[in-house]
């Protein structure tokens, strides 16, 4: 007759496998477990989805993207989330107020997933590794939120957007050229 305790142990040990070997110890300054950052990143992503998810279909699609961010943060989940929310904004009324928190949330997901992207669940990161990316994010947010306010003002006043479209196209071309040349130099 099978021993019930052994059966329980079989599940506990993952099927006759020995327990994991002890880890190597390393001294880190204020370490944060990688899974904490992943969960935080996925929570922010879920918040972004929640801002625009009006029906069950959007929740399901958004849920899949949040799972992508949680399981493989460095695997394009953050970019997919930005594209998805942008698409949903495009489908809705022009300039809904959710754009402002969405701008912050999407950016936070991108920063956190870039940081924790290749780190496993059981890995650790030092608290100080968050400082520079968060500072950079705040500076970029000042610019991005200002642009958002400006866009909202333009749309609210019904000013012709053609000069701004031309300006934007020139800006994109310039940025693409700069990025391409820097990348070529770096590579």
């Amino acid at each position: 007759m099978a021993n019930p305790i052994r059966s329980v142990l079989w599940f506990r040990t993952g099927g006759f496998s020995s327990p994991a070997a002890p880890p190597v110890a390393i001294t880190l300054r204020h370490p944060i477990p990688g899974w904490v950052v992943r969960v935080a990143c996925a929570s922010v992503a879920a918040g972004c989805v929640g801002l625009l998810a009006t029906d069950r279909t959007r929740w399901i699609i958004g849920g899949i993207v949040v799972m992508m961010v949680l399981i493989r943060p460095g695997g394009g989940g953050a970019v997919t989330l930005t594209l998805l929310t942008g698409f949903w904004v495009l489908l809705g009324d022009p300039f809904v107020p959710q754009v402002f928190p969405l701008l912050l949330g999407n950016h936070l997901v991108i920063v956190l997933s870039a940081l924790v992207g290749s780190l496993p669940w059981r890995g650790h990161l030092e608290m100080s590794t968050l400082r520079s990316p968060v500072l950079r994010m705040l500076m970029i947010q000042v610019v991005a939120q200002s642009l958002a306010v400006m866009s909202w003002w333009i749309q609210a006043r019904s000013i012709s957007s053609i000069p701004f479209q031309i300006l934007g196209a020139i800006g994109i071309a310039l940025i693409t050229w700069v990025a391409y040349s820097r990348l070529r130099e770096t590579v």
Binding site: F16, P22, V24, T27, H107, L125, T129, G168, T186
Partner: protein, 416 residues
Amino acid sequence: MFLVALGILLGRPDVSVLGVPMILSFVWALSHPPTMVPQISVGDLVSVPGSSTVSQSLGMRPAEGVDTVRFRVSAVGYSAVEALVDVSGPRTFEMSATTVRTGRRQFFGVDYRSQGRDSVLATDPETIGPSSVLLLPRPLWLQELPLPFQLHGLTGSHDSRRPGEGGELRDVALFAPGDRLRRIDWRTSARRGSSTGRGQQLYVKRTFATADAHIMLVVDPFDVVGPDVSTWSTGRIRSDHMSSLDIARRAAVSLARLWIDQGDRVGLVDLGREGRLLLPAGGRRHLHRLTHHVALADAGREAVLHNRAPQIPSGALVVLFSTFLDDDPAHLAQMWRHQGHRVLAIDVLPRLIRAYLTPEGSLAHRMVMMDRSDRVNLLSLSGVEVVRWHEGERGVGAEAPVTPLMTLARMRRRHR
């Protein structure tokens, strides 16, 4: 970029603005690319004598444009650890591991990768280490050990059966030419002289000579197994489990220390490498040399076939450390016993953990253990004394086989 372009094309600035942070982050990262790779170095591997901890420092020097370094520290028998650290200034990390294993071991292979701003740019992974260290076995304190059937020399700490200059009284005899005057037993001379009427006869006290013992330790480094039977097929022994070879090393050093402290001469044969023989000698320096040899005992790349048993000095006590999982060491022990040596077989199989065995593995293990049991019984029948050396599972609070060894030591004293 796609969102920004889409928003511009459709005249929807609220869509465009969502793509702005990503573009700005990307441009920022590219405008401050890493100009050089951070210098990463490791210090010396330190093993504190008497401690089971091995440590090493990992130094990182910052480089322009590099924000973080992601690294993975691994060692055989341990789970790897991954971390992401800030390298805005010089950093030093301490890597450490606790082990009960001995011998030449490698620690701390570090794979690392430098990352620029927001991980947009990263270097190719590079590796540093691992470093090698020789971990010496720590001896246990023992009290009394068996001796060979035959003792050597005219000096030493043991009483031999030959008359000579020693401490233990042999008999009282008539004074003869060559006897030292200080050996005259005046009390016996006075008593015997008065009772027999031969007062002019003198009697001397005669003593047993002292002698030392020759001991050859034979370490069998083949069939190295850990306590977890499920790892026997893979050979992956955890760092917190003592393998049979670790137990053998510890047992050999523990016995050697007591014998050398007693003034005996101890040698070593490593069955793993042909020609690795340390002739019997005594003294503290020899004990250090022997400890190093024992720590280096390992199964070489090619198995050594012993058609003839390694030469053992005549009359030496042979102490064989083996798991007896195969026939070769048992045959050698029997051969030495037939040559007239006293042979002590120390069984160094660890206390076994069978919880993680599959049913097939359990069956295989039972068969192997039955075979081994027959082998050990045969050894006992052929006159080889078998002692089981028990060690704690984690090497902590280890119990040495003090009682069986003391029993053996007292049993054979009359044969010397």
